[in-house]
């Protein structure tokens, strides 16, 4: 029964999902609302689950004095700092008339968000620019025809997507300027490639979903 019950639940839920999509009438339309509500509730619990498992992992690292355990300590301190700041601001906001949110300008949470979280996140993302440049230098090489095509596409998109592209090609007719080359590459070869990927993924998703609904694929029941 350990395997049969989850398989029955998967089958019923999967079939109900398919039916509610294609038959938007009573009682199937009720399924849609019901499942959406359930999914949101499960999603909200998943956020807590993620946060708690992060804390658990960090506490384990600290207790075992694992490699880089001070970073785990830092994660816990930062996590608690922002949770406590948000909770205090939230409870204080409830006393105000009209009520204010912990996210409002001037709150401790907002200060942490704007002055710590935002710059740190942006910095992490900005570092990518350096690695992308270094990777382009080493990887974009005309070793064969396919690599040369990729290289030329990258060249035209990179130069055509910034204003200097049109500045350098201003002497050409408007339809031949570099921005038009970039637009063409994005609108046609890129769209064609993306479509192929999308259709491939969709077909793969449908076949995998059918296998799961019909109980042929059972990997999700393991572990």
């Amino acid at each position: 029964m350990k395997r049969e019950i989850p398989l029955i639940i998967t089958f019923v839920a999967g079939v109900a999902f398919v039916l509610q999509y294609f038959i938007p009438h009573y009682p199937f339309n009720r399924f849609e609302n019901l499942f959406s509500d359930w999914f949101s509730i499960v999603g909200a619990f998943a956020i807590w689950l993620g946060a708690l498992s992060l804390i658990k992992l960090c506490l384990l690292n600290i207790s075992k004095k694992a490699h880089d355990w001070p970073i785990s300590l830092l994660i816990i301190v930062c996590f608690l700092a922002i949770v406590v700041a948000g909770a205090i601001d939230g409870f204080n906001g409830l006393k105000n008339v009209p009520t204010t949110s912990f996210r409002d300008p001037g709150t401790n949470f907002d200060w942490l968000y704007q002055n710590v979280y935002t710059p740190l996140s942006a910095t992490m993302f900005a570092i990518l620019a350096f690695f992308v440049a270094s990777a382009s230098y080493r990887a974009f090489r005309a070793r064969n025809t396919a690599a040369t095509l990729l290289l030329l596409s990258a060249f035209f998109v990179m130069i055509g997507r910034v204003p200097i592209g049109d500045y350098l090609s201003a002497w050409l007719p408007p339809s031949w300027q570099l921005s038009q080359w970039a637009n063409w590459l994005m609108a046609f070869p890129n769209t064609a490639g993306q479509r192929a990927v999308m259709i491939g993924i969709a077909l793969g998703t449908v076949s995998t979903s059918l296998r799961i609904i019909l109980g042929i694929e059972r990997a999700h029941l393991e572990g």
Partner: protein, 328 residues
């Protein structure tokens, strides 16, 4: 002493930058000189490579650092050409009559803010100036906070302040809701099913802007700012495909190529992609903001990357020639 030299230089640089008069802007002549020097340095690297001296990644980092920071102080006027997809986005928003209800979905977080926040600010400023009623929500937890930041900024503009924009009447922030695409699906039948209260815990029935808003059929346009999952793809697949919503989007440069198929199939009414899209959107809406400043460093960095791609290929051919000569 040698060990601490880079740190001393870094601290000295920070002090110098902090003490500089603001806003610092170098003249067009000096800007041209700096650009030429940067170009000459790149040419020097090219010549070194042709002679068989390959450069390390630190040199690439140095050039990228210089090309990203120096243009912030430069004074160059760049030609503006709005891409068709950005123009389409602007046209769709411009066609909305005053009082139209626009759902703004903020599905991104601070790492993507340099690309998407300028679009958010330009959109909010345009919406407030043209009396569009904005309903904000987020499928990402940080999205509504990014919306608040954009609103606080545009409310400082004298033209918008004069309009006496009111929360609950001209805009509302419904906050974040977990559930990804299922949130969109549920909103198709009932907004209040997913958002019974706004971000301030006020009952949605008591918010004037939400009077008569039950589902997507009461929304005139959806503007989605997205940097991944859940985002524009999910909005197209559910809100557009199932409920016939009119959707325009602002995406990060990384995500934008993946939504181009929806543009040509007219599922997506316009797209502003990346920093250049943000800059063009600012120009189209007539709301110049930070993207107009950021586009110059982006231009320089693109040119430097292109320069290094050329240098990398020169290194490849030099290597081929050397191995052929050794083979002979």
């Amino acid at each position: 002493m040698k060990k601490f030299l880079p740190w001393i230089i870094l601290v000295a640089l920070i002090i110098v930058v902090a003490l500089l008069p603001k806003p610092l802007e170098i003249s067009p002549t000096v800007s041209v000189i700096v650009t030429v020097l940067l170009g000459l340095a790149l040419t020097g690297v090219l010549v070194m490579t042709m002679r068989g001296h390959l450069i390390g990644r630190r040199t690439v980092f140095l050039f990228i650092g210089a090309s990203l920071t120096l243009p912030f102080f430069m004074n160059f006027q760049m030609p503006i050409k709005v891409a068709p997809e950005v123009q389409e986005l602007y046209d769709a928003i411009a066609k909305l009559p005053p009082g139209s209800k626009v759902l703004a979905a903020f599905d991104y977080d601070p790492p993507s803010a340099p690309e998407l926040q300028p679009q958010a600010e330009a959109f909010m400023a345009y919406a407030f100036k043209h009396d569009l009623k904005v309903i904000i929500m987020g499928l990402w937890p940080q999205g509504p906070q990014q919306a608040d930041m954009a609103i606080q900024k545009v409310l400082q503009q004298p033209a918008i302040r004069a309009k006496n924009i009111k929360y609950g009447v001209d805009y509302v922030n419904l906050g974040f809701q977990s559930g990804n695409e299922f949130v969109i699906q549920r909103m198709g039948s009932s907004f209040r099913g997913m958002f019974p209260r706004d971000i301030y815990n006020t009952d949605c029935d008591k918010i004037p802007i939400l009077n008569g808003v039950d589902n997507f059929s009461n929304i005139d346009f959806v503007f989605n700012l997205s940097s991944g999952y859940p985002g524009t793809v999910e909005w197209v697949q559910i809100a557009v495909d199932r409920y016939g919503v009119k959707l325009g989007a602002g995406n990060t440069a990384v995500q934008a190529p993946s939504v181009y198929p929806y543009l040509s199939s007219h599922k997506l009414t316009g797209l502003a992609g990346g920093m250049s899209g943000a800059w063009q959107f600012e120009q189209a809406t007539g709301e110049p903001g930070v993207a107009s400043t950021y586009v110059l460093p982006q231009t320089f960095s693109h040119m430097v990357v292109i320069g290094f791609i050329i240098i990398g290929n020169v290194a490849l051919f030099v290597g081929y020639r050397k191995s052929r000569q050794e083979g002979v």
